[in-house]
Every structure is written in C-alpha cells, then in structure tokens.
Amino acid sequence: MSTAAISPRYCPGERVKVRAAYPPGHVRTPFYIRGHSGVVERLCGNYPNPEELAYARPGLPAQPLYRVRFLQRDVWPDYAGQPADSVDVEIYQHWLEPA
C-alpha cells in the first residue's frame, strides 16, 4: 500500500470542531458529535479514508486520524452525570476544523 498521507494539521491539546456536515455514504463520524467542539487527545496515525474504502477505492492519500475528547455536558445539554465526564471519539482530519 502507498504511504501517501496528508500532513497532520492539529496537535494534541488543540481545540477543534467537528464539521456539521451530513453527506450520504459510509461515514465514520457519528451523527451525535457533528458540530461539537473538543480537544485533540492524540494523533493516532494515518489511515486510508473509510468513506472511499467502502466503495472499493484506495482511500489515499491517507487521512490523519485523531482521538478527540468532548465534555459530555457540551454534547448533551441535559447530561445528568458529572461536569468532567467525557467521550473520546476517533475523527479523521477532513471532518475537523479549528474551533
């Protein structure tokens, strides 16, 4: 497989926002997290874009993949747990924008 990859644009600790986009197809960005802001927990590496892989295309150049940490109270307005509770979600770079 080609090692072609897009350069990472975000660093751990940086605030990012998930695009509020709703394209059809095999999208790995959960619906509930779109439009929300969180903090990059780590860069996981570069992975072929699953939205392309699902249609038997190579998915290259590979997309940087991040784990982004969101506070539950930001995601769910009626969240009933504790203020520091969080949800970490894996998001590909093309779904992120600076917050």
């Binding site: 959960p30 992975y47 993949l65 784990r67 769910w76 747990g81 949800v87 979600v89 894996e90 590909y92």
Partner: protein, 214 residues
C-alpha cells in the same frame, strides 16, 4: 428431579415443543452458504480450512486480555509500555499483535473508562474473542454514550460522583482495552491468580474486578 415426566405414552395430547431456530435461513445466511460452497467448489478454499478458521475465532477468549492485565498489574514497566503502545506489548508476552492498533485506557481511583462502538460492533476480537450480544445492541450503543452512569448502574456498577467517566467510542481504526484497577487485598498474588479476576466485562469497562465474588 424427583417428579420425573416419565409418562409421555400414557396420554394423547401433544406437548408444546420449542420451535427449531435453524429451519429457515435468512437472506444473508443463504448468501454466506452460497459463497462458501462456491469457494470450495472452485478449489479456492477447502471446507476444512473454513472450519479451522471458525474454530480459531471461537478459541479467542478474554483469557488473552486477562493475561495482559495481570502482567500490567505485576510489572510497572510493562504497564508503562502497554499504555504507551498496545500492540508491541501484546507481542512481548507471546500474544498476536492483532490487525488493529490497540489503545489501552487505565482505570484509576479518579477515572473510569468504558468502551462502545456506537456505529457498529468494533471490538478487539483477537484479544477478547467475540463481543457479547449486548455490546452490539442498539440499546447499549445509543445509551452508554449519553447516560453512561445509568447504564453502568444497570450492570451493577455504581460510580461515585468524584470518579470521572470516560466513554471511548470506537468509531474508526483503533481498538480499545480497559486496564482495570487492581483490587485491594490481592497483594502477593501470582499472575495466574490475578488473571482469574479479570473478566470480559471488566475489560470493556461495565464492571470492575473484585477479589472474591460475593
């Protein structure tokens, strides 16, 4: 049973029977059989190879994950390597490094981790075997990400308010293992004794290991 039901032939009414569950195939079951038979007929795979692969899959059990956890509990340097980079740490103790990158998340007195795949059923199968049915259910997937404390309470795990809950949604190319906290009262235990406390659910994060089952 003392009151055995031994007199079937003395009366003429039929007993209700539980229906067989394999007398009708679903669309995808039929498709699987068709593809499998074609692969065998064309000489691409043998029936024995397919059977062996299924057997291998069924032989992967949470015992593998338990071995990793018990080693991490007894060897702080190993634990540090495991948390930094999961896959090489698996190989180090003779386990398959696996087809996906492994992220190990550690439970501490201040943080409790729980794993879900809200989109489907991503799970570290090479380390824990097949996921439980509830892990794949829409109920668990949609609720644990939104009301984790209520869901954990239903599993019998009541977390204190000063413990932060971290849900990890396995949405892409990572797979997750919870490293539970070593229970108090297990000082001096061998790795084998410790591994016996580590169950599947404790490595998903819906339970915590206890020194002895009440």
């Amino acid at each position: 049973m003392a009151h055995a039901h031994h007199d079937h032939h003395d009366h003429d009414h039929p007993h209700p029977t539980r229906p067989d569950q394999d007398d009708r195939l679903t669309y995808y079951q039929t498709m699987e059989i068709a593809v499998r038979e074609l692969l065998v007929e064309k000489g691409i795979l043998t029936a024995d190879q397919i059977r062996r692969q299924v057997e291998d899959m069924d032989n992967r059990t949470p015992l593998r994950g338990a071995k990793v956890v018990a080693r991490a509990w007894t060897d702080p340097a190993y634990k540090a390597r495991l948390l930094a980079e999961g896959n090489p740490a698996l190989e180090e103790i003779g386990l398959d490094r696996g087809p996906y990158r492994l992220v190990v998340v550690e439970n501490t007195p201040a943080v409790h981790n729980v794993i879900v795949c809200t989109l489907c059923s991503c799970y570290p199968r090479w380390l824990l075997g097949l996921p439980p049915d509830w892990y794949k259910s829409r109920n668990y997937r949609s609720r644990v990400v939104r009301e984790p404390r209520s869901v954990l309470r239903e599993f019998g795990l009541d977390l204190r308010d000063d413990v932060t809950v971290r849900v990890h949604d396995s949405t892409a190319d990572m797979r997750y293992l919870v490293l539970p906290a070593r229970p108090a009262g297990t000082e001096g235990w061998s790795e084998e004794q410790l591994a016996a406390l580590v169950t599947r659910d404790t490595m998903i994060g819906v339970a915590v290991p206890r020194p002895a089952n009440p």
